[in-house]
Amino acid sequence: MFDPIKIREDFPILKRLIKNNSLVYLDSAATTHKPRQVIEAIENYYRHHNANVHRGAYTLSEEATSLYEAARSKTARFINSEMTESIIFTRNATEGINLVANSWGRTNLKEGDEVLLTQMEHHSNLIPWQLITKEKGAKLKFIPLIPDGKLDLANIHRLINEKTKFVSLVHISNSLGTINPVEDIIQLAHSFNIPVLLDASQSVPHRRVDVQSLDCDFMVFSGHKMLGPTGIGVLYGKYNLLDNMPPFLGGGEMINEVQLEWSDFRNLPWKYEAGTPNIAGAIGLGVAIDYLDNIGLENIQQHDRELVSYAIKVLSNLDGIEIYGPKDTRGSLVAFNMKGIHPHDVSTILDEYGIALRAGHHCTQPIMRWLDVAATVRASFYLYNTQSDIDILTKGLHKVKEIFKNGS
């Protein structure tokens, strides 16, 4: 049975006191906490198996290599990738997008081509495309938003056309919580033979994402947003696409034969993993995946959904609160503002009560401009959060109002 109280026992940091209050952590969309199983796996690797991978014929190196590659197989299974070779370990989702923008973009984009994004992209799915389209003389196009924060697909047939060479979009918005109809967009793009990259940073940790049924060509996500350590991320790519692209970073580990003037590169996935990889990070991610599988993503999704509905219900009952994003289904986060109070002041006051949440532009400045606000407050939830966290948040928000009404 899914029991968040029991789950919380696995997360040592949740026992911390912040300014003499229990920590109420509502910033999992930025990064999640790590269960002791993940922390111990990383420690265990460094204590007992530490060695470089794919070189050396000694016991430790063999162990490190098999642990590292086992993490890749787990990741492949987790997102139902047909082939393990389709899983490239990166630093994070950002690096995965940069890899595709550089390797695919540099080979395939030319002057006058168009890359289609949406107006709700995280900076990580915007800047790499700005850089490569500028270099190539290509253009960026954007799917606009309708007032409730969903994609405006009314003119999608004009936006996807013979000039479009690539589509890259976010699955679930980190800023609005919008769940995009990516299946439809992928299907439409494929009818023009256009490859699609999915930024699944906010979806893979929270629901079952199946790359074969979605049929996306590339997908990226970060380990640290799904109970894993920082510094490890995943790029999934269809074998043929990855195989035909040039390497992104060059160096050791990604080569077969090296001459002074030329070299020849290893097969997938190692062709894209130059240099010593984040071995402990990959192992930690593998254990995080085991942990999530053990709890069940369906249970997590259900729990998230209940928390978000509850949060929207209680926040809507407070005076002077504006909630952004779709009112019906959404990812496990709620962005809002309190009338006349800047998000940073809200966050500073809430911190006094142990409540950790994000105030700012959430790396989505274009969305802030679209909302016509400087910033928002964002509460995001995960498997270790409870309704009581949201009740404490509500109390905290009352306190914020009180302070701003009266002063001290």
């Binding site: 006349g340 109070i341 800047h342 998000p343 940073h344 002041d345 500073t348 006051i349 911190d351 006094e352 105030a359 700012g360 532009h361 400045q365 802030m368 400087a374 910033a375 302070i403 701003f404 002063g407 001290s408």
Partner: protein
């Protein structure tokens, strides 16, 4: 110190109705400041006549700390010479980072002392200093331009 002490009456008054908000056409001193951690921005305009600040305005988006700080700073800049303004900014920076104590016996510093609490919230020191750093940058650019002319 409690967080409510950070938001004193003086700060909230300046936040609700900030002084010297606006723009100036062709100001001698102009600078834009940006706080990359929160997205707050500020523009400062000052008219300099006979080496003194004759008029000063600001426009921006920000939290109670940054807006009240800009409001109080602009109030206090009227009539200051360029050197006095620079010295004042230097002093404020030292106070807000806790390097020096806010003067307790000075009328000029009476309102500004309301920002004292910020010292205990290191993340917010940037908010309180944004307008001051921006003005200093504007003054330096103004001085550079004058030097080049001479």
């Amino acid at each position: 110190m409690a967080v409510s002490d950070l938001y004193s009456e003086i700060i909230l008054e300046h936040y609700r109705e900030p002084h010297n908000v606006g723009e100036l056409e062709c100001p001698e001193v102009f600078a834009k400041g940006y706080n990359e951690s929160c997205g707050d921005d500020i523009k400062i305009y000052a008219r300099i006549k006979n080496g003194q600040v004759e008029e000063i305005k600001f426009k921006g988006n920000g939290c109670a700390i940054s807006q009240s700080s800009a409001s109080m700073m602009t109030d206090l800049m009227y009539g200051k010479t360029i050197d006095e303004a620079k010295e004042f900014i230097k002093r404020f920076t030292k106070n807000i980072t806790g390097e020096e104590d806010f003067p307790s016996d000075s009328d000029e510093w009476f309102e500004l002392s309301a920002l004292k609490g910020v010292i205990n919230f290191p993340v917010r020191v940037k908010c309180a200093s944004l307008s001051w750093h921006t003005l200093l940058q504007g003054i330096r650019e103004f001085e550079n331009k004058n030097e080049q002319k001479q």
